[in-house]
């Protein structure tokens, strides 16, 4: 049990599969690949492969994390001249960053937030305003956008701390709807038409220009964004892991599981809720800022309640509290409708039904979180 080869094998398989999936154009091939994936998953859980892979990841976590990072780069390199594929990859990575934030709030601390898309939008609009009207360097804009999302989120802190359960859910839903309505009626922020943004430029590198390799070969300019998004994703992942594997992660779990009991052991419930809530919203804002500068155009319709629900679905499908599961779920949820044209129209319905099935039959998610190992594999 726990041999490194199982983990390496699974990362390689997923990477090859992702490449094939992104290559596939014909709908029959896409469907074939999907059926193949489902069959493979059923077989894998049948023959204990999943358990072995899980053990392997638990034991060789550090090596496999690096391999996963390298696999992401390899897949992106394979599609280096295809704008659309790279745009999708970067979008998946940015959604992953935002969902890691929401996962810290909901999955770890039990603070519900149905306004994830709104905080993503706060970051996006902050980036739009700053990049259009100020000379602030673009990397700084990303940081500021995260801070703005955290500050705007802090307006909700009092009602979020004072309310519980349904009442807290209502507060965040109301905020999400309020935010989108506000954008639609506010002419300074472009109203329903939204805002345009210039492309990013970091250390003099214009992100929106292709990179010439030779006279007839180029790398798509989206590669810049993929690399940036990958770095952010790695940072968010590492932050989430460090939080989980420390006394802080324990405090967050204790707050989620029993507020009264943990208060009698000195745990400051309000403090940890605020910490999780602030970090989570900041991650949403950061992701939103990069997303806005990457797409060059944002409108209120990108940040609806439906989008917030998609983020929550990603967390529930992936496995509440499990960042790896969130990664896979983000990829599936965002890529599937892009590749499988026939479900594009039906995607909200499909995810709604899928999440309902998960809640009814496997409420811990498809890849449930494991017990906390503070120092997995004996390394620090």
């Amino acid at each position: 049990m726990g041999a490194l080869r199982w983990g390496v094998g699974s990362v390689a398989t997923v990477a090859v599969y992702a490449a094939l999936f992104l290559y596939a154009e014909a709908q029959s091939v896409v469907i074939g690949l999907l059926v193949g994936a489902v069959v493979a998953m059923v077989m894998a859980s049948r023959f204990d492969v999943l358990a072995r892979v899980g053990e392997s990841f638990a034991r060789h976590e550090r090596a496999l994390d690096r391999l996963t990072f390298a696999a992401c780069i390899a897949v992106a390199a394979l599609f280096h001249d295809q704008h659309f594929v790279l745009l999708m990859l970067a979008t998946v990575l940015l959604y992953f960053v935002a969902c890691i934030g929401l996962n810290l709030q909901f999955g770890h601390t039990g603070v519900v937030n149905f306004a994830g898309a709104a905080f993503f939008g706060v970051g996006a609009y902050a980036a739009a305003v700053l990049s259009q009207h100020t000379p602030v360097p673009h990397l700084a804009i990303i940081v500021i956008a995260g801070a703005v999302a955290a500050v705007i989120g802090s307006v909700l802190i009092i009602p979020v701390l004072r309310t519980r359960g349904h009442y807290a859910a209502m507060v965040t839903i109301a905020f999400g709807v309020l935010f989108k309505t506000f954008l639609e009626v506010n002419d300074t922020l472009g109203g329903p038409q939204g805002l345009k943004l210039p492309g990013m430029s970091v250390f003099g590198i214009p992100f929106n220009a292709n990179i010439a390799l030779s006279d007839d070969a180029e790398i798509s300019f989206y590669m810049h964004y993929v690399v940036l998004a990958l770095l952010l994703a790695a940072g968010a992942y590492s932050l989430s892991r460090r939080i989980e594997r420390s006394w802080i992660g324990l405090n967050l779990d204790a707050v989620r599981l029993d507020e009264t009991a943990c208060a009698t052991f000195g745990i400051d419930v309000a403090r940890w809720k605020i910490v999780a809530y602030t970090i989570g919203n900041a991650l949403c804002g950061i992701a939103g800022a990069v997303y806005a500068m990457m797409t060059g155009f944002i409108a209120p319709n990108n940040f609806t309640f439906g989008d917030s629900l998609i983020m929550v679905s990603i967390i529930l499908l992936g496995g509440v509290g499990n960042p790896r599961g969130v990664m896979i779920a983000a990829a599936v949820v965002l890529l599937l409708p892009e590749k499988l044209q026939m479900i594009q129209e039906y995607r909200f319905l499909l995810y709604a039904v899928l999440v309902m099935a998960v809640l009814l039959f496997r409420p811990e998610g498809l890849l449930p979180r494991r017990l906390r190992a503070y120092f997995p594999g004996g390394t620090s």
Partner: protein, 258 residues
């Protein structure tokens, strides 16, 4: 005679029209085991909740280590050195046994953001000494249980969960421990084992005061130094078990019912 650990005077708790604690006076001495007995609904658990800051007392005072507990938050009361177990087990079942103990160890761990996120080497040292301590403490109750430190709390039996809960309350080395019916739902044999463990711990932690809510009279008789009897939120008697059992009021209110 040593100064009392906890001095309650006129402690009162009302919920709307219901008076759950009625001008209660009670002292607890260092190193003693005080039994709390009384019929259901007589205010025993409410007393624990007021002393640990879950409820804010309506009137009166409870002075512990120079501070009035009725003015402190639950967190501050824990830091002052009072811990408890709950009548119905309130462990964090999905977490490991170690995690559950560390929830109780809160005041002796470093919770700074920078320490936890960036000083992993220092964190590891703190973690390793905490593991040793948790294992040692658990082993005084049950050696097999101590080997299962990294299994989920949901995987162990009822009596083991009770032991974990008591260890969670003990690991921060409190001065006063409140045990809310630790024998509930256990067989006589298990109860006996658990009480022996508690006596053992008391022997190793001199000065630790324990308040024990218990319905089994033979347990009270065997382990407590003194008892207080509650009825309708009032303390109707106090003294050794023999004195209390001979009290007419007590017989009428409580023993007479059996």
């Amino acid at each position: 005679m040593t100064a009392p650990l906890l001095v309650c005077r006129g402690l009162t708790m009302r919920f709307g029209g219901l008076t759950a604690l009625d001008a209660l006076d009670l002292d607890v001495l260092p190193g003693e085991i005080l039994g709390l007995i009384g019929p259901n609904g007589s205010g025993k658990t409410t007393f624990f909740n007021v002393v640990t800051g879950v409820y804010a007392a309506t009137a009166g005072s409870a002075v512990f280590a120079g501070a009035d507990l009725t003015r402190l938050t639950a967190q501050a009361i824990y830091r002052a050195g009072i811990t408890r177990t709950f009548q119905r087990s309130r462990l964090a079942l999905p977490l490991s046994i170690f995690d559950n103990l560390m929830i109780g160890n809160h005041r002796r761990l470093d919770h700074g953001l920078a320490f936890n996120l960036f000083r992993r080497v220092a964190l590891k040292a703190q973690y390793e000494s905490a593991v040793d301590e948790a294992r040692t403490l658990l082993a005084t109750f049950s050696v097999p249980l101590a080997t299962r430190l990294f299994e989920p709390a949901s995987a162990v039996t009822m009596i083991d969960r009770r032991r974990i809960e008591i260890c969670r309350a003990l690991i921060s080395r409190p001065k006063l421990l409140l045990l809310d019916e630790p024998s509930a739902g256990m067989t006589h044999e298990e109860t006996r084992e658990l009480m022996d463990d508690i006596l053992l711990v008391r022997g190793r932690m001199p000065g630790l005061g324990i308040i024990l809510i218990e319905h089994e009279m033979n347990v009270i008789e065997r382990v407590t130094d003194r008892c207080a009897v509650f009825n309708y939120g009032k303390r109707i008697a106090a003294g050794t078990y023999a004195e209390v059992a001979a009290d007419r009021d007590v017989q009428q209110a409580y023993l007479g019912q059996e």
